[in-house]
């Protein structure tokens, strides 16, 4: 009774996990992008304090494993008497984590746009915000796209850590199935295929985008 065969029931179970993974990915990407933009703007702002804070934040959070961040968000709050539901913990932890990496990637890309460009726009009287929005960021996008998409894909795969807060997403379902069937290689290869199906469209979009950007 113990070694079940690897059947369609298992595949459906994993598909159910896949749905969770997609949902988590959406949360992580949205939260991460918003928080990351805020941090990148802080990191390139003229305010020294904002820059310092951003730098320190990036330094600490980049170095902390996501699992630990998630652990602190979910269980840590209980130590101070607040009960945080799993999805809230996930949103917080992933946003904080992604903010650090995206903030750093985007800061580097913004700084790689030649000085002359911001001078050119300032000389025309464009405000700092306009100069960012219309001149600097469109050019920074070109160099930022590959590492950003790379990180997005990583983030999607990292949603597997949600099993720590008892969400049975794709990786957890694979673990359960693999332990029930004792066929880890087959199960994990199927999981890999599922992850591929979720992540790959993102890379296709990015390659398209890059091609378009390179035309100009």
């Amino acid at each position: 009774m113990m070694f079940q065969d690897f059947t369609m029931a298992h595949v459906y179970y994993m598909l159910n996990g896949l749905l969770w993974t997609i949902g988590l990915a959406l949360i992580a990407l949205t939260g991460g992008s918003i928080a990351g933009s805020v941090l990148a703007l802080m990191a390139v702002s003229r305010n020294k304090l904002a820059r310092r804070i951003a730098k320190l934040y990036i330094f600490v959070v980049q170095g902390t494993p996501l699992l630990v961040t998630l652990f602190i968000a979910y269980f840590g709050a209980n130590y101070v008497g607040v009960d945080v539901p799993p999805l809230v913990a996930i949103s917080i932890a992933f946003s904080f984590y992604a903010a650090a990496f995206l903030g750093e990637i985007w800061r580097g890309s913004i700084n790689s746009v030649p000085m002359g460009q911001s001078e050119g726009s300032h000389a025309l009287g464009l405000s700092r915000v306009d100069s960012m929005r219309f001149i600097i960021i469109p050019q920074a996008v070109k160099i930022a796209t590959p590492p950003t998409v790379g990180f997005f894909v990583m983030l999607i795969k990292n949603t597997s850590l949600a099993s720590v807060v008892s969400i049975t997403e794709l990786t957890r379902t694979s673990q359960i199935v693999s332990n029930a069937t004792f066929k880890p290689l087959q199960v994990y290869l199927l999981a890999a295929l599922f992850y591929f199906l979720v992540c790959f469209p993102l890379t296709i979009v990015s390659r398209r985008l890059e091609k378009r950007l390179h035309k100009s």
């Binding site: 050119g120 000389a123 025309l124 009287g125 464009l126 306009d130 219309f134 001149i135």
Partner: protein
Amino acid sequence: MTSSQQEATPIIRANKMNKFFGVFHALKDIDLTVARGETVVLCGPSGSGKSTLIRCLNALENHQKGELEVAGVQLTGKRREIDMVRRKTGMVFQSFNLFPHMTVLENCMIAQMRVKKTSKEDARKVAERFLARVHIPEQAGKYPAQLSGGQQQRVAIARALCMSPEVMLFDEPTSALDPEMVREVLETMVELAREGSTMICVTHEMNFARKVANKVVFMDQGSILEIAKPDDFFTNPQHERAKEFLAQILH
């Protein structure tokens, strides 16, 4: 009365202005007054501080000592002052600084739409007018990378003109042009001068200076050595260094 008073108010007034890059003393005790409608030519050897001076006038660099007033705004480093000065001045860079991700037309429209809140159609009309004026109306749809150096320089000029600034600052605007284009661009500038725009122009086109400049400013090693009417300057420079310099240009 009012009009003569307005003319009497200088649009640029620098008073013992100094600029340092770290320890390097780039501008030394600059005194300069430019009246509304005047055309001033700035010349001097490489590294003498011409670009630095003109960048201070546009608040792209902060000066450290002395006073600087541009278009009625005293520049002390405050954000609001800087914004105001930048709106009232236009700048054409030695290295163009066109926006590579925008077409020529968009390069000329963006600041109108964002800063002056001109409608898209109006901005396009203005842009097309000035592109025609610098003789490249047919390049409007191209990207800067698709243009020759000369064409790029003209886009940069058109872009600044579109903002109809009170003072136009030119940093060697014709250095990348061939002689015919130099003439055409200079003619555009002469027209501007005749229309009463105030212009400060770093250039070594002495014919331009002779024709329209109200005064020539000669710089060396961060100092203004001589300010004179063009005729006086060319026929009878006072300063030793200026004599040498002119000897070289005029062969």
